[in-house]
């Protein structure tokens, strides 16, 4: 063990790791928010609730059906994504042409309904979720102990983020998507079914949230309010990064996670608020956000 700036390396790197983990979730969630906002012009307030549902699907499937973590990693996003598609068809498509405000309020209402239902059934206390067998234990890297599961979360979420970026920025389907964001009428005129694309985009964004939820289940406890506190921080992340760029959302998410981790080491009292403080500073210096385009 050695010390850096008077802090034992174990503590420093431990918090840095935790910061990276939080950063992975910020990145995945703000990525989903950015993708949804791009296509639907809606800020999805229910994103936190959908993340929570992802975690609950993993927990309930393991508890009652014996479905393991790896299967949940696939099933939960599909299931919750399908629910998202249903929500889009039933509710969101009716408010797309209205003021932004109504989309925000509608999804806020949905978030309350979902959270309320889960609280009724499962109470407010958290349920533990076992780390999958394959990823138990960890490695001693000399300067710190690295649990396998945490390494997996960071690597896997990076892969998902980069894959999403690639799909949107570098593939044909992604180019349709970007075109439809810019000018939906024109894209429709080319014979592309834009409404269906919008629906699927929402499903995809929601699926990302659910995926993050499954990954979070073994780290945090599975509880009904796990999403609502997180989503507000993610909003701040989105304001800091600006929703104009996919890569921007990813980078901002990870960097802010690390900053938050470091704050926990050097100035623990401010660790809850540091992201909001950064948001204020960014707004004063660069109102459009770090990666945003001025509207």
């Amino acid at each position: 063990m050695f010390e850096i700036f008077g802090v034992p390396s174990q503590a420093l790197f431990g918090q840095l790791l935790l910061g990276l983990i939080n950063g992975s979730f910020y990145a995945l969630l703000s990525l989903g928010l950015a993708v949804i906002f791009g296509m639907l012009n809606i800020i999805n307030f229910a994103h936190g609730a959908q993340y929570m549902m992802g975690a609950f699907v993993a927990y309930l499937f393991l508890q009652y059906l014996g479905v393991n973590y790896w299967a949940s990693l696939v099933i939960a996003p599909i299931l919750i994504g399908a629910l998202g598609i249903l929500i889009e068809r039933l509710f969101l498509q009716h408010v797309r042409k209205l003021d932004h405000l109504y989309g925000l309020i509608l999804t806020f209402g949905l978030a309350l309904i979902i959270e309320g239902l889960f609280r009724n059934t499962y109470g407010s206390s958290g349920q533990p979720y076992q780390v999958p067998e394959l990823l138990r234990g960890g490695h001693n890297l000399g300067f710190m102990f690295l649990p396998n599961y945490r390494a997996w979360v960071i690597v896997f979420s990076l892969v998902v983020c980069v894959a999403t970026w690639f799909a949107i920025e570098r593939t044909r389907l992604g180019s349709y998507l970007r075109a439809a964001t810019e000018n939906p009428t024109m894209v429709r005129a080319f014979g592309i079914n834009v409404p269906r694309m919008i629906t699927l985009t929402y499903g995809f964004g929601v699926g990302l949230a659910a995926l993050a939820g499954v990954m979070a289940a073994p780290i945090y406890n599975v509880s009904p309010q796990m999403g609502s506190d997180l989503i507000i921080v993610v909003f701040a992340v989105v304001v800091i990064g600006g929703m104009g760029s996919i890569m921007g959302a990813i980078v901002t998410g990870f960097v802010l996670g690390i900053v938050e981790g470091l704050t926990k080491v050097f100035f623990p009292e401010a660790s809850n608020t540091v992201i909001f403080v950064i948001m204020v500073i960014v707004l004063l210096v660069r109102p459009a956000g770090l990666f945003g385009r001025t509207a």
Binding site: F37, I43, F91, V95, I105, E115, G116, F235, A236, P287
Partner: protein
Amino acid sequence: MMERVDPQVVQQRRETAWSVGAAFAVMVAFFAIAPFVVYPVFLMQALCFALFACAFNLLIGYVGLVSFGHALYFGWASYLCAYVQKVGTLSIPFWFGKLVWIQIPLPPHTPELAVLVGTLTAALLGYIAGTVAIRRQGIYFAMITLALAQMMYFFALRTPFTGGEDGIQSVPRGYLLGRFDLSNEMTMYAFVVVVVLAAFLFIYRIINSPFGEVLKAIRENEQRAISLGYRTDRYKLVAFVLSASLAGLAGSLKALVFQLASLTDVHWTMSGDVVLMTLLGGLGTVFGPVVGAFCIIAMQNYLAPFGQWVLVIQGVIFVVCVLTFRRGIVGELGAALRVKL
């Protein structure tokens, strides 16, 4: 310069004045009779929230700014009011090279002073938050206000004077102006009614002043208002500070009524509640927020035994309001009677 006024507009204004006047009379009569029928503390709670919702409506309904963090002003005013009322002297830390505690000697148990301090606190916070938030428009504005409120929630959780999870409890109500004993429910009720009605008329005056017309112009088309030479950012900031102060006034009254200031008042669910009240009553209507507040508070009181179902029902009301009647109760009523309420 002579102003040419369209006779039709004059006619319309006269009709609006009539309908608003009649509705106001009904409201005052209701407040006068209600305490003999319904539990006064419930009425006082509903009145505080009615004022809170009216303050919120000033922003969302007349400037088109969606603040999702109004609990910040309500809750912090409530804390400051409760603290001054209970303890008196404020100690504020300042940084002059080193940490210096500045003592502001204030007498405790003076409700009028405590309410004033609470309101001014909200005004100050509103000025700071408003300066930051109006740098972005639309959806970002909502997210920024929410994030700022959450930041101050954590601050309230950590800072010692708020009492953390316990809040500031058993705040004495004291004697208003040294004469009227507020521990008497009816005296307290009269005090709350007078303050809320005065604030209500103040808001009505604001939205029907030339200043209010500029605010509505910003709501309809900010770019055009800018091109007409209005400094819209300043108007927005003034409106934001006014709204925050009035929300603070509501929070201060609430602290006196319940003799309590707690974390619930600064939590984001409180910001959500006020959005719900205003939306249900009718965005941009004069009486909507009052009606919405009474409905929601009544619902929360009567459904309290059902626990978390309140959350679900509130969510359902949100969804139904947005999908089917966006004008709200009073908006729909006004449309049916063809009057502006």
